[in-house]
């Protein structure tokens, strides 16, 4: 019997997992990025190396961890290192291929805010703050952002630049001395945005099944460019859906 139709959340996670099909090493933030990376190991890429900022390198969690430092991550890791070692020997030199990050706000250059909503001194909402994101995003080979698609998240202007994506456009990363390639995709529950090679501005390049470009533009806080012929997300396979549901039920 085939599984029931996929929800938009499931599609987002499944699409994110597909991005890791040929990746060697991935640095993972907590939440959906973690679910997607574990799913990628189950379905596409069993040798994918999962790295969490708690210092666990090559973790093989059976369950989705609640925190980035759950015991199962340390127990199953190839190596467990201190936080200074994680940032200075592994992240800083660019040894990790892909960073999978979330954020509260994303702008058109895929810069990220996870610090405050509103004014810094008198915030409307105080968010957790930077964590590892700024240096992870500047030094990993590339960055894939997993975010909710609505006007509160995809905004014209960030309230605070916690993490630099493509700065204010072409040449920004180079001028700042950021060594990784920066964001290569923003995966949302509606589709996928990728930076235009010339302008570095995000544009809509992929639509999940049943979603229109107009709907995506409506849910975006800036005047979003659309690729000539956006790809349509391939429907989740039974194998992907069953694996994801089994993982979430563990």
């Amino acid at each position: 019997m085939s599984p029931s139709a996929a929800s938009t959340d499931e599609i987002q996670t499944i699409v994110a997992a597909r991005f890791l099909a040929d990746t060697r090493t991935v640095f993972i933030g907590v939440g959906r990025p973690s679910t997607a990376a574990i799913l990628a190991r189950m379905v596409h890429n069993p040798s994918l190396v999962l790295i969490y900022e708690s210092g666990t390198i090559g973790a093989k969690p059976f369950h989705i961890p609640l925190s980035i430092g759950d015991g199962e991550l340390a127990e199953t890791a190839d190596a467990v290192v201190s936080v200074p070692e994680m940032f200075n020997y592994w992240i800083g030199p660019g040894r990790v291929d892909v960073a999978f990050l979330g954020a509260a706000q994303v702008d058109r250059y895929a810069n990220l805010n996870s610090t405050v909503i509103g004014d810094y001194e008198h915030p409307k909402t105080r968010l957790p703050g930077a964590g590892g994101a700024p240096e992870i995003a500047s030094n990993c080979g590339e960055v894939i952002v997993v975010a909710a698609h609505n006007r509160r998240t995809l905004v014209e202007k960030l309230d605070f630049v916690t993490t630099v994506g493509h700065g204010d456009g072409p040449g920004s990363r180079e001028a700042l001395g950021l060594r990784g390639r920066g964001p290569t995709a923003v995966i949302t529950d509606l589709g996928v945005l990728e930076p235009d090679p010339q302008t570095k501005q995000l544009r809509l390049t992929q639509l999940h099944e049943g979603v229109s470009a107009e709907q995506v533009r409506e849910a975006t806080g800036w005047d979003l460019a659309v690729a000539d012929e956006p790809r349509i997300t391939q429907a989740p396979s039974d194998q992907e859906l069953e694996a994801l549901r089994e993982l979430l039920a563990r």
């Binding site: 708690s54 210092g55 015991g71 940032f87 200075n88 957790p128």
Partner: protein, 271 residues
């Protein structure tokens, strides 16, 4: 060699009102028992330093023990907000606190510089972020290559408090699992307290374990279960259900105060 004391005596001797205190433990080995003892003894006006404030500093901030907070990630991992931390910053409850925030890389390097007794550490970081203007970071030129690098000041807390699995009777400490910045925090601080799950006659060698010699530690105190609801690898498990429940307990000021009174202030040894 470290002195072995009861936890209450250790806290009374090492921590004073107004001190800068780093209770470390990166998700793992968070010294809840010692933090709760600080609250029971009514310590005030503290500069609280911690990479991830976590539930422990949420509790200490909510109880009014903090004057200042130095941190890099103030969330309840995988759950959401730290409501007492937010209430203090957004609404000044129970009183306003000063904050100084960094990235994890910045904080980790500040501890490492403190442990090495160097004035600062260098890293590739902060460039292009709004964080740079809001925190203690400077950009310097590498004297060898000319590369522009970030410099962050060493952390030198008055007191470090960390938890570990074992100590022997000389106060040599063994910890395993995620090491976080435990060693750096001890070596960066003027005084140090390590609480442990158990005190043993002889520490058995264990692959991957980190040993901190007793002569580099001031005081060791037994605190079985003292890192709960975080955990001590191989001894206790992270109480993820409690981390989820904290969201609801801490959301409301009165409910929080009642919970703290019942479970921490009036309850020695309880969580």
């Amino acid at each position: 060699m470290a002195e072995i004391l009861e936890l209450s005596q250790a806290v009374a001797e090492l921590v004073h009102d107004g001190d800068s205190v780093a209770l470390e433990g990166f998700t793992h080995l968070i010294p809840f028992a010692a933090g709760h003892e600080l609250l029971r003894q009514g310590r005030r006006d503290l500069e609280l330093i911690r990479m991830t404030p976590d539930l422990l500093y949420d509790q200490m901030i909510g109880m009014g023990a903090a004057r200042r907070l130095v941190f890099s990630y103030g969330g309840n991992p995988g759950v959401g907000s730290l409501h007492r931390f937010r209430d203090a910053i957004e609404n000044g409850w129970p009183h306003a606190i000063e904050i100084e925030e960094h990235s994890h890389a910045g904080m980790a390097n500040r501890y490492a510089a403190g442990a090495a007794d160097l004035p600062f550490a260098v890293l590739r970081g902060y460039a292009g972020t709004d964080l740079a203007a809001r925190t203690a970071v400077r950009f310097i030129e590498c004297p060898f290559t000319g590369e522009r690098l970030a410099a962050v000041a060493a952390l030198r807390p008055d007191v470090a408090i960390v938890h570990a699995q074992e100590a022997d009777r000389e106060g040599n400490v063994s910890l395993w699992g995620i090491p976080g910045v435990q060693k750096e925090a001890i070596l960066a601080s003027r005084r140090s307290l390590v609480t442990v799950e158990r005190i043993v006659d002889r520490i058995e060698p264990r692959p991957g374990a980190l040993t901190v010699p007793g002569w580099a530690i001031d005081v060791v105190a037994a605190a079985p279960g003292g890192s709960q609801p975080s955990y001590s690898q191989g001894v206790t498990e992270r109480d993820n259900d409690f981390y989820r429940r904290w969201d609801e307990i801490s959301r409301d000021r009165e409910r929080f105060a009642e919970w703290m009174e019942e479970n921490v202030i009036a309850s020695v040894g309880a969580r």
